[in-house]
Amino acid sequence: MELELASLLGMWAAATLRSVTPLLLTTLGETLTQRVGVINLGIEGEMLLGACVGFAVAASTGNPVLGFGAGALAGVALSLVHAGLVLGVRANQIASGLAVWMIGLGVTSYAGRAYVGKQVTSLDTLGSPMTANWPFIGVFLEQTSLAGFAAIAIVLFAAWWLANTRSGLAWRTVGESARVAAENGLNPGRIRLYGIMIGGALAGLGGAILSVDYTQTWAQEMTKGRGLIAVGLVIVARWRPALVLPVCLLFGVAEVAVLRLQSTGVDVSSYLLASSPYIIVILVLVATHMYARRALVMPADLRSVFA
């Protein structure tokens, strides 16, 4: 009995980590973009393009890692549209993000038709004969791949980098005040460009992990608003990469718990259950805004675009 409970928990933990990995990377990407003072709603489209291109490359080469790389590059490419509109001609950031999203949605629906129903090789799971009989860990490793752990490592590294390095300080300065940054010899335009590009890379990578490693299929509009949820979770994580990890994991636990309701015999429409991630993100936003003063932690230069 005890062993069974351990395997059940192991399965849940694995399901949570797998479903939350794309969101984790995308939320980190948007956090870094917003820390340099730019909001990008287009990460929804960048994630979708990453999922599409990543899946296409992984399916045709048989190599999931190449798929991840291609997905990240696709995300960067689309993020350059946002950079051009926002930094190049000073367009409204929210509207520009929506335009980027539309382009990503259209391009992937157009180009992705060829890959509907195709097969893909995903990463190997981490289980081995040695660990198979260990309680909890055995089942957990059996059902997870390296992607989840790599994502966690990336988040931890980004948190350390932003807080402790010279270049991290430069990024934070640009987000607080581009004017002060320029007076101190930094180039705010270039750093904001990097911020948008790294956001695109992480969203594209997240999308590729979603299609290649998690669902292992491509479907039109398959990100289903995960990028938009990420924009909400950035606020919940108080624009701090270190908090992105617990916030996303808690979100994933809540999501998996609601979805598991069905298997416990509760008779709820699967469509109502599918709406739970969106309702959860609204609820955590409400909780965050009720209990915390966000004005103090928001990058100051964001305030002008993002009330």
Binding site: V81, V89, A95, L228, I229, Y271, I279, L285, H289
Partner: protein, 343 residues
Amino acid sequence: MTMNRRILAISLTTCAGFVVVSMLFFAVIGQPPVKTLADMVMFAAGDSYSISETLIKTSPILLCALAAAVPGRLGLISVGAEGQLHVGAIFGTAVVLVASDASAFLLLPLMLMAAAIGGGAFGYLPGILRARLEINETISTLVLNYVGILFVSALVYGPWRDAVNLGWPATMPFPPAAVFPTIGGTRVHLGLVVGVILAVALHFAFTRGRWALSIRVLAGNRKVGETFGLNYRRQVVLLMTLGGAIAGIAGIVEVSAVQGRLQPGISIGYGLTGFLVAWLSAHRPLIILPVSVVVAGLISAGDALQLFAKVPAASVVVLQGLLFATALAVPGFLNRYRPYHGT
């Protein structure tokens, strides 16, 4: 005068830019650029059939554009018309299911009212979150869109599914009394008339009188408005709710007049398209009227293109995105190369 010239310059450059960008796009996907563009114009407005197809698509786009423009007058960026449209469709359909024997004179106004209440409630929610807790309305409306769409699926796959359908997820077909009448032998329906009347009414509401003035002051500078005793938060809730109600009407009109029953896929992204139209029109109701016809023509031409030239309809979504990006790029572009013209 210079202001008008600037708007004219921006409009013309945007149109020219969009033509160039869309021809580039056609070239990339391997279609003859000039011919495809000419085909699209023909498919949008070439004969009476094309024109009626375009006008059918105009009505949800026009209503969704007004739904985005109403909060837009206060500087709010609400992208929630898609979800509000679906919730409006649910509320309007509920009336039909409860009172399917009623006469058209009773049923149609009740359906419109119920849809407005449902959509309005779905706009009130992000409105009150913005007013009370400063939760960004763009994010909440975008996320709530998915909720509204899933609610429709939950109902038509669940309690509202008509058993006669043999598994097809849809309600029973609407009785004739619950179908919005069409105009003079065409398939164009009364929803378009509702949209035009609303656009004219909103034009007067936003340009004349005390309310128009207080919104303009608050949109320009919230703090100044509040020192004059204007209530910003109340206007946020009011305009978000009003916008939601208009999108809700779009939902029930589409279900009743075009689909004939509530089912998944009642909207092909009309909410986002409407937002694009509202943005292109700078939230002005009388400019929204022609712009929504043009964008509806683009979408209806895309359908025809898929049918006759085997160009997937998804290309129209790309074109909408490119149109949006062009429109965003042009004003900044003109500023950059003519700084001495001032504003």
